[in-house]
């Protein structure tokens, strides 16, 4: 290594020294194998869960095929049932974002249920405060309050993580219980409507200030909130500089720091947005379904949202599809009881099996030669 190096243009040296790429670098090549993998593995996981659930039904002495047929009919079989499915899908889209957005950053947040509950409380409080104003003003106030309170809720988990090193999964999970306790306290105390006897509730939002159904359907405008939020989330993560930074942090925090990114600020903002989405879910539950805050808010949409986010691999657009599918499964809970005398919770067994299989399938990526791109240099 004692030959003198001529100082030519940079790069020329490297190019000379290492027999290089012939011709121009191909720009984009559709990586269909990766795409196929990202679809095939979750689908296979859901099918596997279906198989296990079928066995479960068999053990219970029911014909699994007729159970699945009934679930399909109850979820998508008719215009009415599909509307019912969509009603359940709208909060799912929003709560799923509460896990999906921080996941892109490398955080595992499961405080969706709590953020939904406090978001609903905030929305009720704001709605009651401005109940005399025109309906759009009430809706805007409720949405803002739901988003804000939910955002601060998960933002707090983010802050604890970045400032004090608290594990965000544990803290957000435990905050669910705090949120539900706070709600119980409020609807039994300061916010209680004396007229609500057997189910303590807050004072109700006036009927004419509620989010109305779309046209002649049973589907309320909350579904638009969900759709718009998912599309915005996709756009934010895939198209903006903010999303690019978030993906850098999520992919390798050391590289992000090397690039000078403000890691904790990005994390905190993402947590705010995530909690805000779940808070909005609480808002639409209050403003379009219940009309008041009570224990029905904690109906499990938050936990189901975690499942949706994982099945959709934390991507905005697939969340829409998965929410509709899971909404359908949730909507069919009643039919299992009525038609097959299976307990209501049976559908939770199915949901739990799907979640387990999806988590298990995460370890399957990169194991199948069929899905390996052939371009490793």
């Amino acid at each position: 290594m004692n030959s003198a190096q001529p100082s030519e243009a940079p790069g020329a040296l490297l190019a000379d020294a290492t027999a290089t790429v012939p011709g121009p670098v191909p720009v984009a090549k559709w990586r269909w194998r990766s795409t196929a993998e990202a679809i095939a593995i979750p689908v296979a996981a859901v099918l596997a869960a279906g198989l296990l659930f079928g066995l479960f039904c068999l053990v219970q002495g029911r014909n699994p095929f007729s159970v699945f047929a009934a679930i399909y009919k109850a979820a998508f079989g008719s215009g009415y049932s599909f509307q019912n499915t969509l009603v359940r899908a709208s909060p799912l889209m929003l709560t799923a974002l509460c896990t999906a957005l921080p996941a892109r950053l490398g955080l595992v947040i499961i405080g969706n249920e709590g953020a939904l509950v406090v978001g609903g409380l905030g929305a009720v409080a704001a709605g009651l405060l401005v109940a005399g104003s025109p309906a759009p003003v009430v809706w805007a106030a409720m949405a803002l309050a739901g988003f804000g309170v939910g955002g601060l809720w998960i933002g707090a988990a983010g802050l604890l993580h970045y400032r004090r090193g608290v594990n965000e999964t544990i803290s957000s999970l435990l905050m669910n219980y705090i949120a539900i306790a706070v709600m119980n306290h409020l609807v039994n105390g300061p916010m209680r409507d004396p007229a609500s006897l057997n189910k303590p509730s807050s004072y109700p939002i006036p009927d004419d200030r509620m989010l109305p159904p779309i046209g002649e359907t049973n589907v309320h405008y909350g579904i638009l909130f969900g759709l718009v939020a998912c599309v915005l989330a996709w756009f934010l993560m895939e198209q903006t500089t903010f999303g690019f930074k978030v993906r850098m942090v999520g992919g390798n925090i050391r590289a992000a720091r090397l690039a000078g990114l403000p890691v904790s600020r990005l994390g905190w903002i993402t947590c705010l947005l995530a909690g805000g989405a779940a808070g909005l879910a609480g808002m639409i539950e209050v403003a379009a379904v219940h009309g008041r805050a009570n224990e029905s808010l904690a109906a499990g949409y938050g936990y189901a949202g975690i499942l949706v986010a994982f099945v959709a691999r934390h991507r905005g657009l697939p969340i829409i599809l998965v929410s509709v599918l899971l909404g359908g499964i949730l909507a069919s809970g009643g039919i299992l009881q009525r038609q097959f005398q299976l307990p209501d919770a049976t559908i939770l067994v199915f949901q739990g099996l799907v979640f387990l299989m999806i988590l298990l399938s995460d370890s399957m990526y990169g194991r199948f030669g069929l899905f390996k791109e052939k371009d490793a240099a």
Partner: protein, 513 residues
């Protein structure tokens, strides 16, 4: 002794001989026909620079690696050691650089649990009696009921050694056992082991960087350099100068890389009393002062673990400084995006995939990490143009010869050398660097790539870039640097120029002598 030695395990100190041991990793030869002989009851030192192949060699003895060629001869018989369990059977034990104690368990529990022949239920009372009897003959005392987590580093190291004695090891390998100890503790521990050796109970192989330990405690020494034995013998026949010469490979002629003759310009980077901690919270930088001018390459040499990594991490924004300040062009520098862009501070990190890339993102995106939020890639104030990223990256990919199937391939799929080229393209491609920090930029690269990276660095220097080169390769430092600094224990301890450099002196300073 207290535990009857398992059948087949020797009762006297072992003699061990390596004959022509060769170990290759791919095309890289880590150990090249290494032979050494350690007679029974001697204290033998194995010394050499980082990457000289010391650890690989002892891993071959311990059965972590299997030598490609050559023999390990124990007590006159060639032995096939395939796992650490085999090594244990032959009576060989090793104390690692890092602690292997279970923090939540007491010393007694740690000692008992280290036995490979542990029964399913442990008769604690009987074990306790054995332990107490063992401790009466032990060279040093440690409170058996203390949890390991509450022991100071020196005590932990003692427990690690006690563990080997408790296991009746007759041949002890110590891998830089004193790197975590204060000099006082080091002397104490090595002194006690030395006494065991003199009492005819042990043979010891000590891996070290420190001449003081070799001359203070060892009978004989072997020096490795680049995988080969470059010397050795009885310690009493050698001087520190002899060892330094063997370790550094004698006087070296600096390679010349067409350095333009230019006087250094204004101060570009200045570090004043910089302090930072290691991950463990132990201070890594202890008031480091350094000054780097435009158009000069300042090399930083040192044995790894003396704060070089932490220094680079502080400059990269990956580790917070706990004191002192970093000034670039006279202004306070906080390693943010704005600061880095404004002052043109670029950085070639070591292990580029771990430190500087997002494996799951594409080659093009990784190359655009410094530019994605600036026009022309940024559109309308907040959008990232995919086409912009591709266009930007495409030119650099072909200029720097990054071999990739497409711009959209995840960078994690590329080979190490190509990842390195991609990072080089990102940091040097735009040509806007004013300060360049390079950490072991050529580690693991082949000859041609090394040559071209050296050319790039020199070319940048000739353009007036201030270059800080932190490297473990002294040859690289001598050929590229205008000034050479030696770092030890978190501070600069020596400064010289390649022309005046005396490798023996540098070696002394690196070894903390």
């Amino acid at each position: 002794m207290i535990i009857p030695p398992p059948p087949g395990r020797p009762a006297a100190p072992l003699d061990l001989e390596l004959v022509q041991v060769t170990k290759r990793f791919g095309s890289f030869v880590a150990n090249d026909r290494v032979s050494l002989k350690i007679p029974s009851g001697t204290f033998h030192a194995l010394i050499g620079e980082n990457g000289a192949g010391k650890s690989t060699l002892v891993k071959c003895i311990m059965g972590f690696h299997t030598a490609d060629e050559g023999d390990v001869i124990i007590g006159g018989h060639s032995r096939d050691i395939r796992s650490p369990a085999d090594a244990y059977q032959f009576g060989i034990g090793m104390v690692y650089q890092h602690f292997t104690l279970v923090p939540a368990m007491t010393v007694a529990e740690n000692l008992v649990l280290s036995r490979p022949d542990l029964p399913a239920t442990i008769p604690w009372e009987a074990e306790r009696k054995r332990l107490n009897a063992f401790m009466r003959t032990a060279p040093f005392q440690v409170d058996l009921d203390q949890p390991a987590s509450q022991l100071a580093a020196g005590q932990k190291q003692k427990v690690e050694i006690l563990k080997q004695l408790y296991l009746e090891s007759r041949f002890l390998i110590l891998d830089e056992p004193t790197s975590v100890l204060t000099p006082g503790e080091a002397d104490e521990v090595l002194g006690l082991i030395r006494r065991k050796v003199e009492a005819g109970e042990l043979s010891v192989l000590l891996i070290s960087h420190k001449f003081r330990e070799v001359f203070g405690f060892c009978n004989s020494v072997t020096v490795l350099r680049r995988g080969k034995v470059t010397g050795g013998g009885l310690v009493k026949d050698l001087t520190t100068d002899d060892l330094a010469a063997m370790m550094m490979g004698g006087p070296r002629t600096p390679r010349t890389v067409a350095k333009a003759d230019r006087a250094p310009g204004a101060v570009a980077l200045e570090l004043k009393g910089l302090r930072a901690d290691k991950d463990s919270g132990v201070p890594a930088l202890e008031g480091l002062d350094l000054c780097l001018r435009e158009g000069e390459v300042v090399g930083v040499a040192g044995v790894s673990g003396n704060g070089q990594r932490e220094l680079v991490e502080v400059l990269a924004g990956q580790r917070p400084a706990t004191g002192g300040e970093v000034l670039v062009h006279g202004e306070w520098y906080g390693a943010t995006r704005t600061d880095a862009a404004r002052h043109g501070v670029f950085l070639l990190p070591e292990e580029p995939l771990r430190n500087g890339c997002v494996p799951a993102m594409s080659v093009a995106e990784n190359i655009a990490f410094r530019e994605f939020d600036r026009p022309p890639i940024r559109l309308a104030g907040c959008l990232v143009s995919r086409r912009g990223i591709r266009g930007f990256a495409q030119g650099l990919i072909s200029r720097f010869g990054v071999k990739t199937r497409s711009t959209e391939t995840p960078i994690g799929d590329l080979s190490g050398g190509n990842v390195q080229r991609a990072v080089l393209a990102r940091e040097l491609g735009p040509g806007t660097a004013k300060v360049l920090i390079a950490a072991n930029p050529c580690f693991g690269l082949d000859f041609a790539a090394v040559e071209s990276i050296h050319g790039q660095i020199t070319e940048a220097r000739n353009r007036g870039v201030a270059v800080l080169l932190v490297s473990e390769d002294l040859d690289e430092l001598l050929s590229l640097s205008d000034r050479l600094l030696v770092m030890s224990h978190g501070a600069i301890v020596h400064e010289t120029t390649p022309a005046q450099a005396d490798v023996k002196v540098i070696g002394h300073h690196m070894a903390g002598h």
